[in-house]
């Protein structure tokens, strides 16, 4: 029972971070029906920026995080304007290629600047336990991550429902051409979506490496991206709360299924994520909470 609780807590905390990156993917997908393959790397970059501001400049971690979120949001807005907007959104191939190029470029750039030695990240939550049940420790980190992601989702829902830019965003994501006809400027709205996604991604990256058992290196986001995209697809790629459900489900699958099922070795966490991804896409392509897409022939 205690082992089960320990695995449950592990699953929740990593699931919440997958959910946070999945939210970033959902934001971009909602706006442009594009999966941003560079999302994980953008989050990694934001995490490194946070690290540099916090450790090398000595600012408080939370302040550094906010600064890094602003910085990556600006970077993403510029990227969207320069590299994404020139292309026809309905033609996927060039957009996939551009985001893959960004993936390679950002990953290599981080490797060139910061090297591959793992670094200890100053956590944003207290390192001790909130409560212990024998060997099962409910850590501040677990609770903090979950609460942060839920608050983030509440704020995002409010933003999308109550503000003008949120309304424009929903209009564009529902129908690009009709939104244009009623005077919504699609370009800046999508740019806003990219900036928002990058800021959310940075937060997610920082949450992920805030776990005292994890360390920061330029490759941490590759694995996270696969989990996050599986989570996003499981939840339904255009559903924000679905991303949370999907993320938690994936985190629990990783820690509980891989932990208990004997014949799945522990290195296969990633493989189970890919398996979930394939299974969802075959059985229920719209995910748990996504809206069904009807194709016109």
């Amino acid at each position: 029972m205690e082992l089960f609780l320990a695995r449950l807590f592990d699953g929740i905390s990593s699931g919440a971070t997958y959910a946070a990156i999945a939210v970033a993917l959902v934001l971009i997908y909602k706006a442009t029906t594009l999966i941003n393959f560079a999302q994980g790397e953008l989050a990694m970059l934001g995490t490194f920026v946070t690290y540099v501001i916090a450790v090398e400049q000595g600012l408080p971690v939370v302040v550094s995080l906010v600064l890094a979120m602003v910085a990556t949001a600006v970077l993403a807005a510029v990227t969207e304007r320069a590299l994404i907007r020139p292309f026809d959104p309905s033609n996927h191939l060039p957009l996939v290629i551009i985001t893959l190029g960004l993936f390679l470029l950002i990953n290599a750039l981080a490797g060139m600047i910061w090297g591959y030695d793992p670094r200890r990240f100053p956590g944003i939550f207290p390192a001790d336990d909130l409560y212990t049940f024998g060997i099962a420790r409910l850590r501040w980190y677990t609770v903090g991550t979950l609460v942060t992601v839920v608050v983030l989702l509440l704020l995002l829902s409010l933003l999308l429902r109550k503000t003008k830019i949120g309304l424009a965003f929903r209009a564009v994501s529902s129908n690009l051409e009709s939104a244009g006809l009623v005077g919504v400027r699609a370009g800046p709205t999508l740019q806003f979506g990219w900036a928002l996604a990058a800021a959310v991604g940075t937060l997610a990256g920082v949450l992920f490496v805030s776990d005292p058992v994890r360390q920061l290196d330029p490759n941490f986001a590759q694995r996270v991206l696969i989990f996050a995209s599986a989570a996003a697809v499981l939840g339904g790629l255009d559903s924000l709360w679905g991303a949370l459900a999907g993320g938690l489900a994936l985190g629990l699958v990783e820690s509980i299924v891989v932990g208990y099922v004997e014949w799945i070795p522990s290195q296969f966490g990633l493989a189970t994520a890919v398996f979930v991804l394939i299974a969802v896409l075959i059985i229920r392509p719209e995910g748990l909470f996504g809206s069904k897409r009807v194709e016109r022939v």
Partner: protein, 412 residues
């Protein structure tokens, strides 16, 4: 000075035979030059061009070819060819080391196996399309290193340390490599400059032999793929890319064609893996990860999506851009420790983005446009030349990466 050739005329035929002969001669003679590891210097940096890198590049050509068949001709955005390349490389490594098979014989296992696995992956790809397929196959590429590191297979795969293949490929004694090298060196004026003294040791002969073997395999792979594209199934493959519904209405069996294309693309990836094992004689898990999957896309885009010859350029780019990037000693204004990092991936990433903007058709289209200023091939009237059809197809392919698709009708 631009000449015009009428398609099918004898002048056109001569032109084609001469250009092909020049290409084959270049491909056969280049190892005798590269075996001396020629180098050139810019500033304080020295860039090398070695035969082993060239052989390595030839193996990537076939992998890019396989990816191009799937993305460029069939329109399925799959990124998983590094997975099949890894599969092929590991099967070859294991059979050669543990079962003492000769390298080429392993192709008899690699080709059917990767073809079948490719078909298995291709079946879900019938329902998973576009971006989702790209996502799933990227996941597949990410999983491969963990698969070969897994405890139950690590005895055969060498686990995290990789597997060294000690079996050497020695040039057969009937092949007079040494005397060819001597003859080449005696060519007046350029002989000694290009081919050195013409003396080859056992290792050099072996390296040339490996290159020639790989070039022959690559030649066969390209020839078969070209025949496939020009054939009736090839037209079905292309029709699916251009308009899936239209293809289905015209009687193309979508699921069979797509699954088979997936299998063939995977088999080409597997062959590329065997070639990689022959060229490098060492396989390691992290070689065949996400980065390679993206490198293959870079090779495809640099060469030209929807062309076959682009894969030749692409394979070389994947090897030589990172190699030369790592040989840069100093760049004004850039800290030296940056240059010791993964500059190769950085340049390939930049190249991928820049080319998509500047030359979406890739190097091959750029070269064709240049060539058309010198030689213009005029289609002869009244003859149904298959090249004609292909030209139209390639014009469509050039639009694959275009920023605005003029033929797209807004779906209202």
């Amino acid at each position: 000075m631009s000449g015009t050739l009428v398609e099918g005329s004898s002048a056109h035929r001569t032109y084609r035979i001469v250009t092909w002969a020049l290409f084959v001669a270049l491909a056969v003679l280049v190892p005798f030059w590269a075996v001396q590891t020629p180098s050139f210097s810019i500033g304080s940096s020295t860039f090398t061009f070695s035969l082993s890198n060239l052989s390595h590049g030839v193996s990537y050509m076939v992998a890019v070819l396989g990816l191009g068949l799937l993305i460029g001709y069939n329109g399925q955005i799959s990124l998983g060819n590094s997975f099949f390349m890894g599969l092929g490389a590991y099967i070859t490594a294991s059979l050669v080391v543990d079962n003492e098979w000769p390298y080429l014989l392993t192709l008899l296992v690699v080709i059917p196996f990767t073809f079948l696995v490719g078909m298995l992956v291709g079946i879900p790809a019938l329902r998973i399309r576009g971006l989702y397929l790209a996502l799933v196959t990227l996941g597949l590429a990410a999983v491969f290193p963990a698969l070969v590191r897994h405890d139950q297979v690590s005895e055969r795969t060498g686990g995290a340390n990789g597997k060294r293949i000690s079996s050497d490929l020695d040039a057969p004694s009937w092949l007079p490599l040494e005397s060819i090298a001597e003859t080449l060196a005696k060519i007046p004026l350029v002989g000694e400059w290009a081919f050195g003294e013409g003396r080859l040791g056992g290792r050099e002969e072996g390296a040339i032999w490996v290159y020639l073997l790989l070039a022959a395999i690559a030649g066969i792979a390209f020839w078969l793929t070209r025949n496939l594209i020009y054939s009736r199934p090839g037209r079905s493959i292309i029709a699916i890319r251009d308009n899936e519904t239209g293809a289905a209405v015209s009687g193309v069996n979508l699921s069979v064609t797509k699954t088979l294309t997936f299998g063939m693309s995977a088999a080409l990836g597997g062959v590329a893996g065997t070639m990689y094992a022959m060229a490098v004689q060492f396989v390691a898990p992290d070689v065949f990860g996400v980065n390679l999957a993206i490198f293959l896309v870079v090779g495809l885009v640099v060469g030209g999506v929807g062309t076959l010859s682009g894969a030749v350029v692409g394979g070389l780019v994947i090897v030589f851009v990172p190699l030369w990037a790592s040989q840069v000693e100093s760049v004004p204004g850039v800290p030296e420790r940056f240059l010791r990092g993964p500059t190769g991936s950085f340049f390939l990433g930049v190249l991928l983005i820049v080319l998509t903007f500047v030359l979406p058709g890739g190097v091959v289209y750029g070269a064709r446009r240049l060539r058309s200023r010198l030689v213009r091939v005029q289609p002869s009237r009244g003859t149904a030349v298959p090249d004609d059809v292909i030209d139209v197809q390639e014009a469509a392919a050039e639009g694959l990466l275009s920023r605005h698709d003029p033929s797209r009708v807004s779906g209202l």
